[in-house]
């Protein structure tokens, strides 16, 4: 992730704080690069901003858009486009980086009942619920949705992967199901499907159902 700072910096920090207040813990455990390209800051300002960000719990792994003279050993290394440029200009033979591990799937597992009014969102992957999804609750997944229980609320799948997504549940009582934007409300659901264990997929914009 890259944080792009721009002038006036007081305003930027004020906006940042408002944003942080709305999403506390957003930066926890994330790798963040600070891009100073939009400012004409010198070294003293840079030092201050790094400490200000640290005070807000943001851990920087690199800096972008800064002059090499501004960076010292105590600061995060300079990066460009996510690559460490000090490595690129070194005379030494670059040690081949370890083969990168395949990205960890970011699926979400909910091991309790999803209650009315709750909204579970995972735009990166699948959502699995071990328990039921109450009427008035909502599950929005980038991928597929799996419910081991009664699905009484709304299930919206395929927000990222599109029509490949599926919905599985052990008891279909949904108020609304959607895959890749194509939706169906409860009253359009066939009576044969109601209360059954089903899987749902999309076939040319038509929703298909089959018993599990």
């Amino acid at each position: 992730m890259t944080l792009v700072a721009d002038a006036p910096i007081q305003q930027w920090f004020a906006d940042f704080d408002v944003w942080l207040q709305r999403s506390p813990g957003f930066f926890t455990g994330r790798t963040v690069v600070l891009d100073m390209g939009g400012t004409a800051a010198g070294k003293p300002e840079l030092e201050r901003w790094i400490s200000e960000l640290a005070a807000r719990g943001v851990r920087l792994v690199g800096l972008e858009g800064v002059r090499p003279s501004m960076v010292d050993a105590s600061m995060p290394p300079m990066l460009r486009g996510g690559r460490d440029i000090s490595l690129a200009i070194s005379d030494e033979i670059a040690v081949p980086a370890e083969p990168s591990k395949p990205a960890e799937p970011v699926n979400m597992l909910i091991e309790q009942k999803v209650r009315s009014g709750q909204s579970i969102v995972c735009l990166e992957g699948d959502i699995t619920v071990v328990g039921s999804v109450a009427s008035g609750a909502e599950i929005i997944a980038g991928g597929s949705i799996h419910v081991y229980g009664a699905l009484c609320g709304r299930a919206i799948a395929g927000a990222t992967i599109g029509s490949k997504a599926r919905i599985f549940c052990t008891r279909m009582e949904a108020e609304l199901i959607a895959i890749d934007g194509a939706y169906m409300t409860a009253e359009d659901l066939d009576g044969n499907i109601r209360s059954q264990a089903v899987r749902v997929w999309l076939d040319n914009d038509a929703m298909r159902f089959a018993a599990l």
């Binding site: 009014g117 009427s135 008035g136 108020e175 939706y183």
Partner: protein, 271 residues
Amino acid sequence: MAKIITVTSGKGGVGKTTTTAALGAALARTGDRVAVVDFDVGLRNLDLVMGAERRVVYDLVNVVQGDARLSQALIRDKRVETLFLLPASQTRDKDALTEEGVDKVIGELATQFDWVICDSPAGIERGATLAMRHCDIAVVVTNPEVSSVRDSDRIVGILDAKTLKAIRGETVDKRLLLTRYDAARAARGDMLKTEDVLEILSLPLLGIIPESPDVLKASNFGVPVSIHDPASAPARAYVDAARRLKGENLTVEVPTTQRLGLFSKFLRRAA
């Protein structure tokens, strides 16, 4: 242009949602075009009482935020074809409603309908003030108990301060709807009498809805009580209230305990 009604109360659980659905259905039965709007974002219920919870796709918040058009979000009632519901969102934040957004939605509804009935959330917070903002007529729903009456008095004060009409220096037409009225208990003195409530609130009476199991039954069936069993006492009281809203001059009957029949005439307690 529509008449905008807000159904409001200070206290929760007094019957705002039941009243919104019942008045909406009764008005729509006369052929007027009616939209009922659920402002209780986060705790939506009007769709349940109207029996439309399985038909909700888009809601008020989607329309306010521009994600859906009003025509996509309005749900036409299956029993009365001039009755429409704009449901609330249960999963969005109640702060999603903005003054500008609500102004736009109500403005648009007002051009399409004869009546727009807003079901307000309980209390005096932003959701309630947004729901009452545009109202021409406020229906203040009160139970015959002191806590409910006092909270309603508080709401009347806010109606006189925070509605657009109040801000323009006009006054909002306020009517009192007394719900869950139990004549026997009022006679025994376990409950406030109508006169007492009227004296405290000094508002014109729109109607008195008797306490009745029919209200709960209709609500659980997802049918507005005014059309579920039109012969029932609460249904008749709501239909009369709707006729008063349309300008008819009907006297409000105070429900009385049932007569004991002929036999009672022969029984007189000795002095």
